[in-house]
């Protein structure tokens, strides 16, 4: 039997929806569980319909102040991203418009620093942060997150800047614009979309970073990843509360991601896959 084009498309649409629902199902179930009681959460067979309760969210808030962690996450993600952009924009600008014969090597070297596994340098970084008196501070996380993301940020900015016609910048220079003017008044407005998507990706990566935030923070500068990890200990084997805390930890960034979906697509492809 041969399907007509229309039947074929209907089938394909149904398959697409099915795939979407399957991929999203775990998130749906997580949110659902966060509104269950502990007993309902582990009931066999699992419950789809039940009377929702806010008990878990209230308990989580009582045990550990969600907002402290959320503020830490926001501060470190945005702080690190800003810092990295501040350092990265001038560098990418110079490399994109005045490349030397080392530029390609520098770019590859920068990317290769990302291949060093964090655990490989855990001890030194831990001791340095401790010596500097920065254990459990946002400052330490901001600096580290900025360093982790800097190579990716420079790479992305580099490829966006490459697309700006040289002549525009040249003529501004002829008219006597300073380098700072060119960057702030011309380059940044021209590549706003690219810079924005770079920033978004960096914020998402910082928000979900787990290794350094678990190892370098405790109660003061703990981010949401650390909060979730603290609920994962055997003592915290309460699945409904765990779901509540997870929902709280992920909701901001998931919603943020949905809103910025289009930008993020541009950013993730390094601006190279058109």
């Amino acid at each position: 039997m041969r399907l007509t084009a229309k039947q074929n498309n209907t089938l394909r649409a149904m398959l697409s929806w099915l795939a979407g629902i399957i991929m999203f199902f775990p998130i749906f179930w997580l949110v659902l569980t966060s509104f269950k009681t502990e007993l309902q959460a582990i009931s066999v067979p699992p419950l789809l319909f039940f009377e929702p309760t806010l008990e878990n969210f209230i308990l989580v808030q009582e045990r550990s102040d969600y907002f402290t962690y959320a503020i830490n996450s926001v501060a470190t993600s945005f702080g690190a991203t800003l810092l990295a952009l501040l350092v990265g924009i001038p560098a990418s600008y110079a490399m994109a418009f005045w490349p030397s014969r080392f530029t390609k090597d520098i770019l590859l070297w920068m990317l290769s620093t990302k291949m060093l596994p964090a655990v490989g340098v855990l001890m030194p970084i831990y001791l340095l942060v401790q010596k500097a008196g920065l254990l459990d501070t946002r400052t330490a996380l901001i600096i580290i997150f900025a360093m982790i993301n800097l190579p990716i940020i420079i790479w992305m900015l580099f490829s966006y800047f490459k697309e700006v016609p040289r002549e525009i910048l040249e003529s501004a220079r002829m008219d006597g614009a300073s380098t700072l003017d060119i960057i702030t008044l011309l380059l940044i407005p021209l590549t706003r979309g690219g810079i924005l998507s770079t920033a978004l990706l960096s914020i998402v990566l910082c928000w979900n970073e787990a290794f350094w935030s678990i190892n370098l923070t405790a109660s003061d500068a703990g981010t949401l990843t650390a909060l979730v990890a603290s609920y994962s200990s055997p003592e915290g084997l309460f699945w409904a509360k765990l779901s509540a805390v997870s929902t709280l930890a992920c909701a901001p960034i998931v919603v943020f991601g949905w809103f910025c979906q289009k930008q993020l697509v541009q950013g993730l492809t390094f601006g190279a896959v058109k």
């Binding site: 929806w17 998130i27 997580l30 560098a91 110079a94 920068m110």
Partner: protein, 286 residues
């Protein structure tokens, strides 16, 4: 622009990254040659390569190397194949396409720790997990996933998170494919597979390179998922390089051995990196 300004603009990034790399790296190399246990601070002194010897002869070492490579490779294969299939599947106009797209990429925004806990409790729990509920329903023996297939379970978790990433990139790349040659090929009698194999796949070459490159960087040091689920076990069955070093450093407080492990991890990463840059790195540089 004169050379000095150009250098001045790049200097902060280069200096910072250089410091970020050199300082910890040289400290790691130094620590790896001395006696340095946080529990016994009075034991000090240069001991040459014994930390390395200790780390290599650790019963978990070989499994850690193998597990690291197995994790990277299997996640890469799964995410590229499934991501590509999904991208091709939804690459046409239909009702609710935007929503389907959002559903498909959402897992990418979930934190690694949450991802791991979610799968551990919701699906893989041997009592109330959905997998065991389904297998009981079908009259099969429920499986304790994390105990019996620890590595496989971690591959499932990470694939769920990274398929959306591959999908996202392939999808954008597919949208830029010029439809006209495809139609011409169809007129000339090419079937769907031939069009895909000889026209779409070459078009996606760069996207595939991006996906492999970025994912390898992240998967070489998988940590959070192992930390909150299997804890590296049972035995060393799900211990990768990152986790082995972590357990030396923070669970056994032996900074010397952990540093030696760090040096190994860096060497392993560099071997992979050189290979990767050879294969895919070139397509990235503009």
């Amino acid at each position: 622009m004169n050379r000095r300004t150009i250098a001045f603009l790049q200097a902060p990034s280069i200096v910072l990254l250089l410091l970020w790399m050199i300082v910890p790296l040289s400290m790691t190399i130094y620590f790896s040659t001395i006696r340095f246990n946080l529990l016994y601070p009075e034991r000090t002194g240069f001991i040459g390569l014994s930390n390395y010897e200790f780390f290599i002869t650790d019963p978990g070492f070989i499994s850690a190397v193998i597990n690291t490579l197995v994790l990277v490779l299997s996640i890469l294969v799964i995410t590229v194949v499934v991501g590509l299939a999904l991208a091709v599947l939804v690459n046409f106009q239909f009702h609710g396409r935007g929503i389907v797209r959002v559903l498909l990429i959402s897992p990418f925004f979930i934190m690694p720790t949450v991802n791991a806990l979610l799968w551990k409790n919701m699906f893989m729990n041997p009592v109330y997990g959905l997998f065991s509920v389904v297998s009981t329903f079908l009259g099969l023996e429920p499986i304790d996933w994390l105990a019996n297939f620890p590595l496989g379970s971690i591959v499932i978790m990470l694939s769920w998170q990274w398929i959306p990433f591959a999908f996202l990139i392939f999808m954008t790349s597919l949208q830029s494919q010029d439809p006209e040659p495809l139609e011409a090929a169809a007129l000339d009698g090419a079937n769907a597979w031939q069009k895909f194999r000889y026209m779409t796949v070459p078009h996606l070459g760069r996207a595939i390179a991006v996906v492999i490159m970025i994912q390898t960087i992240f998967h070489l040091s998988i940590f959070a998922e192992i930390f909150v689920t299997t804890g590296g076990g049972p035995g060393f069955n799900s211990t990768n390089m990152a986790f082995l070093i972590f357990s030396q450093a923070l669970l056994q407080f032996d900074a010397g051995v952990a540093s030696a492990g760090g040096v190994f991890a860096i060497i392993l990463a560099n071997i992979v990196a050189i290979f990767l840059i050879r294969v895919v790195g070139k397509t990235l540089v503009v």
